[in-house]
């Protein structure tokens, strides 16, 4: 099966700024792809080129194994960061309208809209105008509008920004569900901590360039597990063990950074001699840390 999205060295610059430079990646069916990077790093620009809202200056975009063509967009569901709805339109009319634009029959669109509204518990609202609804409800309708035509590729630009916690977890569940059904999902975010557990594959971009990409596990395995969190009761002198580079002791819980190639098991043994250990976790570095290490600067999130 060809990759759902294949970007090959795409670049785009606006008059005084390079938005994207030589960006390449692929998204496989049934996977969740995270396009990560700080604000202004070129995430939205990349996405817009992917779905033909703007054209790359150079490089190529392939969707579903074919060079970009408009017809492919009927198989894509796109939720932009700046997302809206027609305010004066009734919810049902709106969903049917959007479904029809993507090639659905009015009856099918209506049926699916109804099913989704039922599932997301907003059936009461379907005959109301959008402007009468709460923000959380509008967000749900935006999800439905994105997914109503059962797209094989779902693209969401900063989907979690501005979501209330209920809708955020609802969205997570929905996305996992879609992944299980074999859909490819791409989302972008600058909040890397939020998505660590969701992504199978990531691409970290910074100033329009990919600085790190690949499978999540593979990326993480490139970095040593050199952080330890320990919960203990008793003497804390093991914190001066030779393998410890630095530590913060909060009394009962300590966060430790190990020296390079240090053996954590030795530290655990030392700790157990002096104290009762409730928890000893050898942490892998977070995406955010990896990003900071790679680009050598803080994320201006």
């Amino acid at each position: 099966m060809p990759p759902v999205v294949a970007l090959d060295r795409i670049s785009k610059s606006y008059e005084n700024k390079v938005a994207v430079e030589d960006l390449s990646f692929q998204i496989e069916p049934g996977s969740m792809f995270g396009l990560l990077g700080p604000n202004g790093s070129g995430k939205t620009s990349s996405i817009r080129m992917m779905i033909g809202i703007t054209m790359p200056d150079s490089g190529s975009v392939r969707l579903f194994g074919k060079p970009y063509e408009r017809e492919s967009l009927k198989r894509v569901g796109y939720l932009p960061e700046e997302r809206g709805l027609y305010k004066k339109m009734k919810v049902m009319d709106q969903l049917v309208f959007i479904g029809r634009l993507r090639g659905l029959d009015p009856a099918v669109a209506g049926k699916r809209a109804h099913e989704w509204c039922e599932r997301l518990q907003i059936l009461d609202a379907v005959q109301k105008k959008t402007e009468e609804l709460s923000k959380g409800m509008q967000q749900k309708i935006q999800f439905i509008a994105t997914l109503i035509h059962e797209p094989e590729l779902v693209i969401m630009d900063e989907p979690f920004s501005g979501l209330d916690p209920v809708n955020a977890s609802l969205l997570q569940d929905t996305l996992l569900d879609l992944k299980k059904k074999g859909r490819a999902i791409l989302f972008s975010t600058h909040r890397m901590d939020q998505v660590e557990k969701l992504c199978d594959t990531i691409c970290l971009i910074h100033r329009g360039r990919a600085v790190l990409s690949g499978g999540m596990r593979e990326v993480k395995s490139r970095y040593e597990r050199d952080h330890v969190v320990i919960n203990f009761d008793g003497e804390a002198c093991f914190l001066h063990h030779p393998s410890v580079k630095s530590f913060k002791n909060y009394g009962g819980q300590a966060e430790i950074e190990l020296h390079e190639h240090a053996n954590a098991q030795d530290l655990l043994r030392a700790a157990m001699e002096k104290a009762v250990v409730y928890r000893f976790e050898l942490m892998e570095p977070s995406l955010e840390e990896i990003f900071i290490r790679t680009v050598g600067e803080k994320i201006d999130a």
């Binding site: 779905i51 809202i53 967009l73 997302r83 305010k87 339109m89 634009l101």
Partner: protein
């Protein structure tokens, strides 16, 4: 094409269901009928002015008074002061200061047996009173001189009797009664409705673009619909709303004009002649005029962020309208002069000025064809520019684009 149709349909339904459509459909003709009614009634009430006729010769003064009073519509009250001298003039000034009289006519014999006449009044620019005075004084003078020459008083009236010139319109080989006034009114009505719909719906397109921009729906739409399809759908949908409104007016207008009530109301007025061709042409001018203005505003709206910013461009639509209406009287009087022809060829003014010319005299076919062709070409050019501004502008949030920015957008491929 399917998407254009869907967008047009959505736009049409939203506007038709909206309050603005219902209100303007009813209110506009109502306001118009109201204004006309006021004009007609105000005219029939007359000015009700109080004037004094002052002369040395009492007979002349009395005759002027009789002439003035003969015009029943003017409802004037006229006093006579004769013989009058310079001291009386001061008294009359004082009466005017106390607002007891509106003005006075001063007749003095001049050395060469002619008469000098002045009308002194508190208001300038009262055309109808001036007109009336002109006629009354001259008529009275003729009578006065005839009597002075020894013509018996009984023969004076038949000798000086006037007749009204009846105007007929020759069109399509037939003579039909017409009046300059009703033609004037008809031309104005057509032009007014055309202007209103063309500009209003043109602005509506702009407003709808802004609303889509502020509601951030564009990017959602652009992931499935081409920006040019969206623009086309919007223009078609809103234009169809305008045509619907015009159709409603035409149908109700036709019913109203044939009803008995209007029959009696219009009795004495010649009815304006409208042919099916003219109505069809007016609709065509609406479509093209709307196309021009709406394409223009769609492009501009894409460069703005709020309706207020868009409002600042409104004078760009108002200037051609002012220009057209400013030429109104001239065109009605000289429908075939070079200036009338030129302004009815200029695309921004052609829909309105052509409506004037239809009312005055049906223009030659080649002129209509040329003005339509010019309009079509200008729509093509404006649409080309606008669609480029639109494509870039709808995804630009922030502030209104400056002119240099717009030029840069036009260059984007």
């Amino acid at each position: 094409m399917r998407n254009v149709w869907l967008v047009a349909q959505r736009e049409y339904m939203e506007q038709i269901r909206g309050k603005t459509f219902k209100i303007t459909t009813v209110l506009l003709p109502a306001v118009f009928i109201g204004i006309m009614a006021v004009m007609v009634f105000a005219g029939s009430w007359g000015s009700g002015k109080h004037v004094v006729v002052a002369a040395q010769n009492q007979d002349l003064a009395m005759r002027v008074r009789d002439q003035l009073l003969a015009d029943k519509d003017a409802k004037m009250s006229v006093d006579v002061l004769a013989p009058a001298n310079e001291a009386d003039r001061q008294t009359l000034h004082a009466e005017m200061d106390r607002k007891e009289i509106d003005g006075f006519v001063w007749l003095t014999p001049s050395p060469d047996a002619k008469v000098q006449v002045t009308y002194v009044s508190r208001s300038a620019g009262d055309f109808s009173t001036n007109d009336l005075l002109q006629k009354a004084v001259n008529h009275a003078l003729v009578e006065h001189r005839l009597v002075a020459k020894g013509i018996p008083a009984a023969e004076v009236a038949p000798l000086t009797g006037t007749v009204d010139v009846k105007t007929m319109l020759y069109r399509q080989g037939k003579e039909t009664p017409s009046s300059a006034l009703s033609t004037l009114i008809f031309g104005e009505v057509m032009a007014f409705l055309l202007t209103f719909t063309v500009v209003m719906y043109g602005m509506n397109v702009g407003r709808s673009v802004i609303q889509e921009k502020t509601s951030r729906i564009f990017e959602v739409m652009l992931a499935t619909v081409k920006s040019t399809d969206m623009l086309a759908g919007k223009l078609i949908g809103i234009g169809a709303v305008g045509l619907t409104q015009i159709a409603i007016w035409i149908i109700f207008g036709a019913i109203a004009l044939s009803s008995a009530l209007v029959e009696t109301w219009l009795s004495g007025y010649a009815r304006p002649q409208v042919s099916v061709t003219e109505i069809a042409l007016l609709c065509l001018y609406f479509v093209l005029g709307y196309g021009l203005y709406s394409a223009f505003f769609a492009g501009l709206a894409a460069t703005c962020d709020t309706e207020q910013e868009l409002q600042q461009y409104a004078p760009l639509a108002a200037v051609p309208v002012w220009l057209s209406f400013g030429m109104f009287v001239y065109i009605m009087g000289n429908p075939n002069s070079i200036w009338s022809i030129l302004i009815s060829m200029f695309p921004p003014t052609s829909p309105i000025t052509m409506a004037f010319r239809f009312a005055a005299q049906f223009p030659p076919a080649w002129q209509i064809a040329l003005s339509l062709a010019l309009l079509a070409v200008s729509i093509y050019i404006v649409l080309w520019l606008s669609s480029r501004l639109y494509r870039v502008g709808i995804l630009m949030y922030g502030k209104r684009a400056t002119l240099p920015e717009m030029f840069r957008w036009l260059r984007y491929s």
